[in-house]
């Protein structure tokens, strides 16, 4: 009787299949034991805060570090409304605003109260808030209360009299444009020109010519960036930075990764205020700037 199957071919095929199964088995064991099941994906950390609100809870300028309140998202811009009256004897001590929450601390004499939106204090109802002020309502009239210790924005602070304010503002603006950085009256907040920032974002080499920054790690974890050198009379020196300073946060965003620093660098053109949190001689400090 003739064989319908070729036994040699069958045996060779079986041999091939056996080797294939062995190869598969080897990889199966290797995969299960040693190979990762999924790849590494980049997970973005929280970006630079769109809006940052530095808040002084103490009257003393020397009393640093400052407490900060950080808004997660850009708050609604409150259009200037016709202010009918003033809340004399009232002080706005603190203001926190995010997309979901608005909380202020108001005082009158020795009495202090924390108010949420819509709540009343001596008949004054908290309606809304801007960057530096809160809007109250009483008997159909609106009242604005400015944040205590917060310098009124830009040139407003410099000249209080109405007839001179515009001239002074223009002079400050021109001075900022010319010099790049100038200090305000009390030197607590410096005004930095947008053009100066742009010159650094357009030419990164200019940054490294004026300042040397290196990683600062604690127990192998990046906690900030250390200023290793600053060129004399450079813009960074005028900003108040010193050799040995450790930059720990910018506008509330902790500098715990290169990405955080790079994000700030990329968004530098669009910021309106700048707060550098630094550690100098083991003391936390904040340097505040307004961008014009």
């Amino acid at each position: 009787m003739k064989n319908i199957t070729n036994s040699k071919l069958f045996s060779t095929l079986l041999f091939f299949l056996t080797v294939l199964v062995i190869a598969k088995l080897i990889w199966l064991i290797v995969s299960v034991e040693f190979l990762p099941k999924s790849g590494v994906e980049y997970s973005e950390k929280s970006k630079l805060k769109a809006f940052y609100y530095p808040l002084r809870l103490s009257n003393s300028k020397k009393n640093k570090p400052l407490k900060v309140v950080v808004a997660q998202t850009k708050p609604k811009v409150v259009k200037p409304k016709k202010v009918i009256g003033n809340m004399k004897d009232y002080k706005l001590l603190a203001l926190y605003q995010s997309s979901e929450l608005l909380v202020v601390t108001v005082s009158k004499g020795a009495k202090t109260k924390v108010l949420a939106q819509g709540e009343l204090f001596n008949g004054f109802k908290l309606k809304s808030a801007g960057r530096d002020d809160a809007l109250f309502e009483k008997d159909g009239k609106e009242y604005t209360l400015h944040l205590k210790n917060k310098k009124p924005k830009k040139a407003k602070k410099i000249a209080s009299k109405k007839n001179t304010s515009k001239k002074v503002a223009k002079r400050v603006s021109a001075s900022v444009k010319k010099k790049g950085i100038i200090a305000t009256e009390d030197e607590a907040t410096k005004i930095v020109s947008k053009g100066l920032l742009s010159s650094y974002t357009k030419d990164i080499d200019k940054v490294w010519k004026d300042i040397g920054i290196g990683e600062h790690k604690v127990n192998g974890v990046l906690t900030g960036f250390k200023v290793n050198f600053i060129k004399r009379h450079s813009d960074f020196e005028k900003l108040g930075l010193k050799r040995g300073d450790i930059l720990t946060a910018i506008n509330g965003q902790e500098l715990d990764s290169y990405n955080a620093a790079f994000s700030f660098y990329k968004e530098m053109d669009s910021i309106e205020n700048l707060t550098l949190s630094i550690k100098r001689n083991n003391q936390d400090m904040e340097l505040e700037y307004e961008i014009q």
């Binding site: 294939l20 190869a23 590494v40 994906e41 290169y258």
Partner: protein, 168 residues
């Protein structure tokens, strides 16, 4: 004799099958894991599993958390004795704005290094990662627009080069 033939044939066949049925995607994940140790992350990529290797497209490349580049094509060829990763058409966030090609090759004939070659608007760079010396050495073979790199380069009689030692 027949038995010896079978053993050698079987071994050869096993190597071929090991290569063919290798879990290339998982091996790529292993490469990603190793790169992560050096703060390099390849993300958002798409895979096509080929019998000879893996083709990856539209990969974002992050170094120390910063998105530095987007590569339109990565080809990973795993032949065990000769393995290569070829990255093409890279658009970067920093200068140089585009890199035409980067190839990284591990050849069993030269097991002490991973050879690297790159070309782009900056010229041509060649070198590699040397395991014994624990260093990355890249030499400039053809210099075009090197302004972005110039401050990182050193010079010797062979020309400009970049050298960095690493810890394992």
């Amino acid at each position: 004799m027949q038995m010896v033939k079978r053993i050698f044939g079987g071994f050869f066949l096993l190597i071929i099958f090991l290569w063919l049925v290798a879990p290339k995607q998982e091996l790529y994940f292993l490469l990603e894991k190793e790169l992560k140790k050096n703060d390099i992350v390849i993300s958002n990529e798409r895979f096509v599993d080929r019998w000879y290797g893996l083709e990856i497209s539209d990969a974002d490349i992050y170094v120390k958390g910063i998105k530095l580049a987007k590569a339109s094509s990565l080809k990973l060829h795993i032949f065990f004795l000769y393995n290569s990763l070829i990255v093409e058409n890279i658009e970067t966030e920093v200068d140089p704005k585009s890199i035409d090609r980067i190839s990284m090759i591990f050849n069993v004939i030269k097991p002490y290094k991973v050879a690297i070659k790159s070309s782009g608007s900056f010229g041509v760079i060649e070198g590699g990662v040397y395991f014994m010396d624990k260093k990355l050495l890249l030499r400039v073979k053809e210099s075009k627009d090197m302004n972005a790199f110039k401050k990182f380069l050193s010079h010797d009689k062979k020309g400009d080069y970049y050298e960095k030692y690493y810890q394992q």
